[in-house]
């Protein structure tokens, strides 16, 4: 996998749906185009919901992978 420059990691572990998504949306809303946000979530629903949201809003999913007992989901702000 190619190197990704993470602008900021958002640790939303321990937060329940839709908390992790909400944290990500906040960051993306405040951020600049091209920023990459990595979300850490222990909520398994995030692995399905966040890519769905990213797709719907037209941003770019960089990766969505399991890391032990949580998920790492990176999203690039494209607009």
């Amino acid at each position: 996998m190619s190197e990704v420059n993470i602008t900021k990691t958002i640790d939303a572990r321990g937060s329940y749906c839709p908390g992790p998504l909400m944290e990500l949306v906040k960051a993306i809303k405040r951020g600049q185009i091209g920023d990459v946000y990595e979300l850490l979530s222990s909520d398994n629903g995030s692995a399905k919901d966040v890519p769905e949201w990213v797709n719907k809003m037209g941003h770019e999913l960089v990766y969505c992978r399991e890391d032990g007992d949580f998920w790492r989901i990176a999203v690039k702000k494209t607009k």
Binding site: S15, Y16, P18, M22, K26, K29, W53, K56, M57
Partner: protein, 132 residues
């Protein structure tokens, strides 16, 4: 393109229904929808300052009880967050307010207005509707 619209009518004072209705509302607003939430009947009581500070919510069963035990953002917090991030408005029902002799100050500071059904129907025209 016109922004897709969702209307959510909260009737029940049960935590599970309040939570589900507010969760859908908040995700819809984060996903670019215009969301109008109308709060009436027993649901309105759950938005009273005294009820929220005492966490005196009715629960239907164990899922609701677990929500209170764990550190979950509750329905009103979901709406507060959604208002910061998207196009979401919350309306209190004028009929219930009059009937119960409640004032806008009795409710948490999340309501855009207290309106009647006619006004809400105007805002809800052409939208998807969810009733909880």
């Amino acid at each position: 393109m016109e922004q897709p619209k969702l209307s959510v009518i909260l009737l029940s004072g049960e935590l599970e229904k309040l939570q589900a209705g507010c969760l859908v509302s908040s995700v819809a607003s984060m996903s670019g929808m215009e969301v109008n939430v109308f709060v009436t009947m027993e649901a309105l009581k759950a938005f009273r300052k005294d009820v929220i500070s005492a966490r005196e919510f009715k629960t239907a069963g164990e899922v609701g009880r677990e929500m209170l035990n764990k550190n979950v953002d509750l329905f009103y917090q979901l709406l507060e967050n959604a208002k910061d991030m998207g196009n979401l408005k919350v309306y209190g029902c004028a009929m219930a307010m009059d009937l119960m002799e409640w004032k806008k100050e009795d409710l948490i500071d999340i309501f855009d207005d207290v309106i009647g059904v006619t006004a809400f129907l105007g805002k809800a025209a052409g939208s998807q509707v969810i009733v909880m």
